[in-house]
Subunit: 237 residues, 2 copies
Amino acid sequence: MPKLSAAYATTTLQRPLVATDIVLFALRDDALQVVLIRRAMPPFAGKWALPGGFVLPDETIDHAAKRELAEETGMRIAGEYLEQLYTFGEVRRDPRARVISVAYLALMHGEGAEPRGGSDAADATWFAIGSLPQLAFDHADIIAYALQRLRYKLEYTNVLYAMLPEHFTLPDLQQAYETIMGAALDKRNFRKKIISLGFVKPLQRWTQPEKGRPAQLWKFTKREPVMVKTFVTKAGG
Amino acid sequence: MPKLSAAYATTTLQRPLVATDIVLFALRDDALQVVLIRRAMPPFAGKWALPGGFVLPDETIDHAAKRELAEETGMRIAGEYLEQLYTFGEVRRDPRARVISVAYLALMHGEGAEPRGGSDAADATWFAIGSLPQLAFDHADIIAYALQRLRYKLEYTNVLYAMLPEHFTLPDLQQAYETIMGAALDKRNFRKKIISLGFVKPLQRWTQPEKGRPAQLWKFTKREPVMVKTFVTKAGG
DNA sequence: ACAAAAGTGTTAATTTTACACCCATGG
DNA sequence: CCATGGGTGTAAAATTAACACTTTTGT
């Protein structure tokens, strides 16, 4: 194996370290929530933070993200959604050492998904986006960035498949959009739009509500990321 | 300063290293071109690669990107455009060691901007996107990703300000779009669109061409990133 | 029959597309 | 007056936005 350049080798003891932080969102109790852990170790011991940790030498960054999430919260991103967000590299973002963190956006459906602390996490639980505690490091920035990205993605992808159960009603789906976007949508226009995009298809099944008319159940046509076919300006003349 | 956890400290000698690679695009000779360097050192000595290098302990990643670009090519990203793209972390992407690379997208206007080799670069020059040489590492993937990102950005931002001179004609601007998107656009519709977006404003100056009618000069209203005000679904009902 | 929630259609406004000729200049 | 490239408008089509009543069920 060829050696690294002499110039870089001399700085070896102060190289930046590489970590990953995961913003795992789910819809719970009609709110967008994120999993946080209570840090067991300094710095910021006792403070809430995103799950995450250092990337090991023989794993990809994606793998580190999934592993740390599982270790610290018990949550697994299986058929759900995991996407690299951004790499945060301010020099003093971690008081211990120079740590560069590759942040991830993860989505899952949150009903019945209870995190449990583990590893470096004294505790782990969901927080609604609107009532986050004070956070360690630059994790508030990371969450804000993740939320912005999620909102953009809702506009032109089907990523919501990861946040809803396999079968759902259109009012459920609309509720999910509204909760995440923080805005009310017109029911008729919403339905027309979402159906015409082809993201969802109806089942021959209906809910059995205690009150009100039963709602038809739908499913996503694909449970993998699909983009709207925008983004091709037209030719001509 | 608090210490890192014992578990992580034991892996200290094989921590991932952090580098940055820069995809610097410019429009030259009616083509989208990218700066490549010829590697002076192994691995891939003699092969073409993106400019880039390791992140030093006391600099941000953005800074490392600018510094390495300057060292290896002599090019400076001043009032231009620099954006973090994606972090590439496959375990064996660098045969020397575990190297994680934070890739950047940089844009500048390329007329009269001649790179020169330096530092670890035996040579540095522009290549048209359509005729790239064989590339070291996963740099072909990185360029492909950067190109995709640039094309998306053209659709909803004014980033082209970084790739055009301060004053330009609308045919120049259209040509730039077409070159990057790889598609022809209708002249009248293009003008209506770009003007209605408010990205550009006309000057009271005209070109003095050798042939044909003089063209009016325009400038960008803002020489900083601005997004189209899309991305807000409407409320109601 | 009432309360609750689901479902449905039409019109106006806006945006996007298609398309062809006239204008200003230099040689 | 010709060649070259710049500049312009309008109508059709598609998309988006606004908006209110009827249906189904359980009690």
